[in-house]
Symmetry: C2
DNA sequence: TCCATCGTTCAAGTATTATCGAAATGATTG
DNA sequence: CAATCATTTCGATAATACTTGAACGATGGA
């Protein structure tokens, strides 16, 4: 059941254009970017972009907020965090493993008993 | 071009059964598991499993080695590592960000001594 | 009010992906 | 070499996803 959730999110990121959108938003930070700006940056037709934004939004990776005539989309950092945590869980029983990932997992474990800091 | 590679890998993981296979292998460690064992664990028809293993293999996330009559599949840790690194690159220009992810990226930075803003 | 702008939704065509039975391959053993 | 076992490949079918033009609703400015 949890695997299904992770899979739908990974599938959402598993499309070149959507991944590009997502990375753009990750880099943009909490402020986010308006749909128009995203479309301009990536050269996507409005309908196509809207489709992908809706997709990313539906699986919880981004959220949109209306601001005057624009809609700003921003990364949902907490959900992305969960996804990465899921991917690095139970990594090879402590054997030789992912350098970065193992580090991330250790950090994650350490963090889980305390509130978020960044 | 690099985004495309990451996207194909994420897409490969973005399928419930394949993600389950992958996690099983991550937990199994470098030794890996034979196709038969994987199929048994996850209740997949041989042909279906083979299709998914080939898919994961083609995008570089796992590799198979023949051992007697069996084929053992194991996680390609380095490639997975790269993928996670890609996802956490250029994270929100130092603003409030991914807790776990940020930690991962910091480790990555330390390991590679490459400039990552996070 | 009228018009332009921003973005979404709809509809329909096209393309890609998943599934699994059956047959083929490849390795091992008697 | 024949039999057996593990896995893959083939082929057909079903399902899902992507793209885009056109129409629509909402907002803000003249």
């Amino acid at each position: 059941m949890e695997t299904k959730r992770a899979a739908t999110r990974l599938a959402a990121l598993g499309h070149e254009k959507r991944l590009a959108v997502f990375r753009l938003l990750v880099q943009a930070g909490p402020e986010g970017l308006s749909a128009g700006v995203i479309g301009e940056q990536l050269g996507l037709a409005p309908a196509t972009l809207s489709f992908h934004l809706a997709h990313l939004s539906r699986v919880g990776l981004i959220t949109g907020r209306q601001e005057s005539r624009f809609i700003f989309y921003a990364t949902n950092y907490a959900e992305m965090d969960d996804l990465l945590g899921f991917l690095t869980q139970n990594c090879c029983n402590g054997g030789s493993c992912l350098p970065k990932t193992l580090a991330a997992n250790t950090q994650a474990k350490r963090r889980r008993s305390s509130p978020k800091t960044c």
